[in-house]
């Protein structure tokens, strides 16, 4: 059940009024849990077993942690079990495939069976969220949650179940404790967020996908201009796709009186790679920062250790996105980019003399280049794309102008939003006009989309 599909509209039309009726009663959370589990089981009822395992494990581990001296042991149990679950379902086939290649190259006549099941949607997101609860409790940052129902809602809350944001217990569990105090503004704000997200996904991301997929499915058939444009368009496609999902998730939660964190903050306006990661998929970036980068030592133990920690964090972050070497290389490229730019950003020449727009352009170009590894089907394909960008001809420089115009309009809007022109965007006629145009475009031109959300595959 996806937010931009009709079954979800029907689901929400049933769930929401009952939620409103129950909001002041003890039945609110049981109802929310039932709805969330139904939402997840709609995709595959077997998924419920996995989410229940994770939920029960961390709930029990924290109970055991609170009554014993062996807190670290129980934390290890939680981390090992969660990572094992993730490793088995997400990386099982990847490890088996690579092991088989290795065995073959060593002439060892044995083949490891490759698991044939699909990755349960949302697994990486709720496992990380559940792990953050046990880690935060271990660190003494949060209290133990006594109600299993509340904890289960925290892990499975349907607006954010499939692709985040990866919320922290401090933010989300705290909200579940209280009766939601929401006004009609929460409903109108939620609707505003949902419409923007819906437009980003259906009208922009899925539209750009038509061109991007055509080029990336057969890169050897295209020349430099098409490959450059497709890469540029993918850069925006993945942003519209994922931030669109997040907007919809936040909008739905907002309508229910729950505030989910801001996950995207106009990332392509970042003036440094560090800033990019504080604007892109903020919930994951901050998760890795808090639970991996800082525990590894962060930037406190000299340059070598700082860069080692950055490298590890970025490579693991890459691998989190998918079980393929392309994601590892993507993480590696970003790590190398951080190494280079971190030193450069310290110089007064770069800090004071280079105009911000040039810095933004540089970061955008670098990030766009790195997306090649993210989108390509294999390292070979990525290499073909890169070499053909620089070596193939410039014949037939066909240009999907409507797509580029739409992208430019969005960039201009974001640019204005972060500049002195922001008051113009806040004028009532502008805001209403933007909404009417979006709804009209969706009503007239947007096709019934069969494109899945990109990040749900992670």
């Amino acid at each position: 059940m996806f937010f931009h599909k009709l079954p979800f509209a029907l689901f929400f039309l049933i769930v929401y009024p009952i939620y409103l009726a129950l909001k002041g009663t003890r039945l609110r959370l049981p109802w929310l849990l039932t709805a969330s589990y139904f939402f997840y089981a709609w995709l595959n009822p077997l998924y419920l077993i996995l989410i229940l395992c994770t939920t029960l494990l961390d709930y029990i581990v924290v109970i055991l942690m609170s009554g014993t001296r062996y807190r670290k042991l129980w934390l290890c149990v939680s981390i090992v079990f969660n990572l094992a679950l993730l490793g088995f379902f997400k990386y099982g086939a990847f490890f088996a495939d690579n092991l088989n290649v290795l065995l073959l190259s060593l002439s060892i006549p044995y083949t490891v069976p490759v698991p044939g099941f699909l990755l349960p949607i949302g697994l990486s997101f709720y496992i990380f969220q559940s792990m953050s609860y046990s880690i935060d409790f271990y660190r003494g940052k949060i209290e133990r949650e006594r109600s299993f129902i509340k904890y289960a809602v925290f892990v499975s809350l349907f607006p954010r179940l499939l692709a985040g944001p990866i919320e922290r217990a401090k933010n989300l569990l705290g909200q579940l404790h209280k009766t939601p105090k929401f006004s009609r503004e929460d409903i109108t704000d939620g609707l505003s967020l949902f419409i923007v997200g819906f437009f980003k996904k259906v009208a922009l991301a899925d539209y750009l996908a038509l061109y991007v997929n055509k080029v990336y499915d057969a890169p050897e058939q295209f020349q430099s201009p098409a490959l450059v444009i497709a890469t540029f368009m993918f850069c925006w496609q993945i942003y519209f796709d994922f931030s669109g999902y997040t907007d919809m998730a936040r909008g739905i939660a907002r309508m229910m009186g729950i505030r989910l964190m801001l996950n995207f903050n106009n990332p392509y306006l970042a003036a440094s790679l560090g800033e990019f990661w504080s604007r892109w998929h903020v919930s994951l970036s901050s998760w890795f920062k808090d639970y991996l980068y800082i525990p590894l030592g962060g930037n406190r133990k000299g340059n070598f250790n700082t860069y080692r920690n950055m490298l590890l964090t970025m490579v693991i972050s890459g691998l989190w996105h998918g079980a393929a070497w392309t994601f590892v290389v993507w993480g590696l490229v970003h790590a190398l980019g951080r190494f280079m730019t971190r030193e450069m950003e310290k110089t007064s020449l770069y800090k004071d003399r280079i105009p911000k727009i040039l810095k933004q352009l540089f970061v955008f170009t670098f990030v766009t280049f790195a997306w090649i590894f993210f989108k390509a089907r294999s390292i070979t394909d990525a290499w073909i794309i890169i070499t053909r960008i620089f070596t193939s001809g410039f014949e037939k420089p066909d240009c999907p102008l409507l797509a580029l115009v739409l992208i430019f309009a969005v960039w201009l809007y974001q640019f204005a939003h972060e500049s002195r022109l922001k008051p113009v965007l806040e004028l009532r006629p502008v805001r209403i006009g933007v909404v009417v145009l979006m709804v009209l475009y969706l009503a007239v031109f947007a096709q019934s989309s069969e494109q899945p959300f990109i990040y749900m595959q992670f």
Binding site: N171, Q175, V196, K214, L260, D398, L401, L402, R428, F445
Partner: protein, 370 residues
């Protein structure tokens, strides 16, 4: 005190004790009143845009016009063409791809040769590719309402009763043409298994002008797909796009077939065809039925006998109901492309035969003289 705590300000600040969460990274944020204004603006567009669009959209069909093949699903265009044809032509020819002229260019269709025989433009080609009788009945009912008090040649292609599958009788789901035109709820079509929601939407699309207009825009000016498939900048193409569609190069002539003809008494397609006749007559039209000519050369002997028996039943029903008709003799095999589609020469012969047919003369050519 509680009220003060929960009071909110418009910059996205949460209530006291709630987490500090920014609203969004854009300014698209409407209050209830602004949502209502947006709803009113959208409603105005919803109500008036289709009508305004029609005033400004150029639609000037030339001689031998037919609905472009790629726009076969654009029923609003068909509706508009019906209105135009009713005011410009004496006689409308309605049917499936046999009338449309699937394997011939627009100046080699039946309507063209009839006009040639008449010496002027009297016959409009209102054929639409793929419209089996069940779909044709829906097409006439919802998008051909302007066809009243006209002379109508209604074509019956026996191919649609050549098997339970073609007759839409099979229980197993299968794809068939123009599902949005067939009855969505009643009478039930066994092989049609669309969800209730999509059936309801199909019904709404027939009646709500905005939805008709939306379908028209998406088919005639599918801007998103079009811009990606035609990467040169030219977003607004002409409505009357090229219809030089010619399948003759890709189609091969079938061998002799053993058709599983269905009984007329149980045939869905035949019942829909009869409903079409009744509907057209009820609107004051003078209906002339053209049956075939089916390519009997493709039939095995047993199948041919069954087909002829069925044809006799059709003829008996038409006589019994006092409906003028013509059942042309089978054309030479080389004048067919497949089981039911004549080629250019076939259409020319058929037009000549019609002009010599007494019933055609009295019903269509000289209705005042009978």
């Amino acid at each position: 005190m509680q009220d003060n705590q929960t009071s909110r300000i418009r910059d996205g600040s949460p209530t006291v004790n709630e987490p500090q969460v920014p609203f969004s990274s854009n300014s698209v944020r409407l209050s209830l009143r602004e949502w209502l204004v947006a709803a009113v603006v959208f409603s105005v567009i919803f109500c008036f845009a289709p009508g305004l669009w029609e005033r400004f959209e150029k639609f000037e069909p030339g001689p031998d016009y037919r609905i472009p093949y790629e726009l076969s699903g654009n029923y609003r265009l068909y509706d508009r063409y019906c209105q135009w044809a009713c005011s410009h032509y004496e006689t409308l020819i309605i049917g499936d791809s046999v009338i449309w002229g699937h394997y011939v260019s627009r100046d080699n269709t039946l309507s063209h040769y009839l006009n040639e025989n008449a010496g002027r433009s009297r016959f409009a080609n209102l054929g639409l590719d793929g419209t089996h009788p069940a779909a044709l009945e829906g097409l006439m009912r919802y998008y051909g309402q302007s066809i009243s008090n006209k002379k109508v040649i209604l074509h019956l292609n026996p191919l649609w009763t050549s098997s339970p599958k073609a007759d839409l009788q099979t229980e197993k789901e299968h794809h068939f043409n123009h599902p949005k035109l067939v009855p969505q709820f009643s009478p039930s079509i066994p092989c049609y298994t669309a969800s209730h929601l999509s059936r309801a939407f199909a019904v709404a699309q027939r009646h709500v002008p905005f939805l008709k207009w939306r379908l028209h825009l998406r088919l005639a000016y599918d801007l998103p797909s079009w811009t990606l498939n035609h990467l040169q900048w030219n977003p607004l193409r002409e409505l009357a796009i090229s219809d030089n569609y010619d399948k003759s190069r890709s189609a091969s002539k079938p061998g002799r077939g053993d058709y599983q003809w269905v009984q007329l008494s149980t045939s869905l397609q035949w019942s829909f065809f009869r409903r079409s006749i009744e509907m057209l007559k009820a609107r004051g039209n003078r209906v002339f039925v053209l049956v075939g000519p089916f390519n009997e050369h493709t039939l095995k002997p047993d199948s041919l006998n069954t087909y002829r028996r069925m044809k006799n039943e059709i003829e008996a029903w038409l006589r019994q109901n006092a409906i003028d008709y013509y059942m042309p003799p089978v054309l030479p095999n080389e004048f067919y492309r497949d089981a039911s589609h004549p080629l250019s020469r076939g259409y020319a012969i058929l037009a000549e035969q019609l002009f010599e047919n007494d019933s055609f003369k009295s019903t269509i050519l000289n209705p005042g003289e009978d």
